[in-house]
């Protein structure tokens, strides 16, 4: 007994066995969290509605929630919302292919070749510090304000994180694993598919995740600056007509796409992690 009490003084108290929560209890807790989280948005909505109906601000500066909802449904049914969204997503998709491909090639080059890293990485590092939106005026001079401008600008936003994370991922491949591969006389494709990819994949994916978020940021910027269609243009249009409901609808849409992208990427990343744990 005395030994017990003396260790209790030195060591932190042993964790109390937590009773395993039943399914129902877990579900209840989750639901209550969602409900509590919904309080503030509902209050804000009520405040917004009240401010609009009491005319605290002119209707051009503060459209009522009902008007925003009506324009949302309107734009949705006329297909304007989806067509503009599709155009924006296409731009992001092409840029991810182009910029992601270029970033992957650069990253592999930097990861495998010490010489390439010595010659090119310092330049890359300095150029990567330049904010993407600083490039856009120059790009406009060279390629005009058409579709190439958007794809190039977003691609630039994608290249940097993909290159950095690919380089890092390859550099972090454990040396012993490569040695083992050499002992087993793996061919280069085997080394890549069986050793490099499995251990670099989480880092590569991290690069992709950053790239998607940067691409979405850059897309909205380019579309606000120079576009004739797309979700960003929807806002410019609403701004010019002084129809704030359009602007708010576009903001909600942009936020929704952001949430979906974020959730989807987090889900895939989670999957990858689980798979990784099983693999080793």
């Amino acid at each position: 007994m005395s030994a017990d009490s003396s260790t209790a003084v030195i060591l932190p108290a042993p964790a109390r066995p937590v009773p395993a929560p039943s399914r129902l209890a877990g579900w209840l807790v989750k639901t209550s969290h969602v409900l509590v989280g919904a309080i503030v948005p509902l209050l804000l909505l009520a405040l917004w509605q009240h401010a609009a109906s009491a005319h605290w601000l002119p209707a051009q500066l503060l459209p009522s929630p009902a008007l925003v909802y009506a324009s949302f449904i309107d734009l949705w049914q006329s297909g304007d919302l989806t067509s503009n969204l599709v155009i924006s997503l296409k731009r992001v998709g092409w840029s991810l292919l182009l910029g992601g491909g270029a970033g992957l090639v650069l990253g592999v080059l930097f990861g495998f070749s010490r010489r390439a890293r010595a010659y090119l990485y310092p330049t890359f590092e300095v150029v990567a510090q330049f904010p993407v939106i600083g490039w856009i005026p120059l790009l406009i001079i060279f390629v005009g304000i058409g579709e190439p401008l958007k794809v190039l600008a977003i691609s630039l936003a994608v290249i940097v994180p993909v290159t950095v994370q690919t380089t890092k991922g390859i550099a972090q491949v454990p040396r012993p694993l490569l040695d083992v591969a050499r002992v087993y006389r793996f061919s280069l494709p085997q080394v890549i598919t069986r050793v490099v990819l499995p251990s670099a994949l989480p880092t590569l994916f991290n690069g992709l995740r950053q790239a998607v978020m940067q691409a979405w940021l850059a897309l909205v910027f380019v579309e606000l600056l120079a576009a004739g269609e797309g979700v960003g243009y929807l806002m410019v249009w609403g701004r010019q007509l002084l129809q704030l409901d359009l602007v708010v609808v576009a903001m909600i849409l942009i936020g929704m796409v952001g949430v979906v992208l974020d959730r989807a990427l987090a889900l895939i990343e989670n999957r990858l992690q689980r798979w990784r744990r099983n693999a080793f």
Partner: protein, 263 residues
Amino acid sequence: MSTSSTRTALWQRDWRGLVFPVLFVALWQVAASAGWVNTKLIVSPLAVLQAGWQEITANGFAHALAASLARDLAGFVLGSLAGIAFGTLLGLSRWADRLLGPTFHTVRQISLFAWIPLISIWLGYTDQARVLFIAVAAFYPVVLSTHEGIRSVSKAQFEVARVYGFSRWQRLVRLVLPAASPQILTGLNLALIYAWLATIGAEFLLPSFDAAGVGATVIRGRSAFRVDVIIVGMLVIGLTGYALNRLAQRLENRLLIWRGPAH
């Protein structure tokens, strides 16, 4: 590690990184002066230098840069103060986190520049609008990192504070904030990068004639089709961002010196 590598003698440095930029600039100059390319589009590096010199001496470029930096700083300070306060609230109070967290994390997903049309309708093309936008950009990373930093304060330290009978305020100022400071500083560093991005973005998207700034200079160059001025502006934007980043890292290392060498 970094100090020893910066102290290495000149001839021991790795100069190979300079080969590519030097070749690139040389080729650029040769191509422009030999007339291989349209010199209206591809201006020679020397012309860029000349334009830079002219911008600095004659066109008040320093004034424009100072105006941009002042805007950047004002937005950064506002946004990060608000961010530290809000992040502390979320970190300290589980109830605040449950009430406000979901809203914050949803609103955060609205791409940063999507705020510009709304802000421009409410505040017009004014400096207040620009500073507010920069503050929004700085706010998010600071909230996230402050929240995370405060959550990672160990329970044991809290108990020590309780044993010493710290008041709520003392606990906050003498325990929680210092313990969370590494993460807060990381967030501030990130916020500085975002604030500079937002400064340039705001000058592009909320232009006005009376507002000087580096972004405004670039826009002027674009409308006058002066590629040299655009390149000067781009270089200054990039180098300023780089300098701010380096400065922040130096400051961070200096402020965190009490943590001792990293293991």
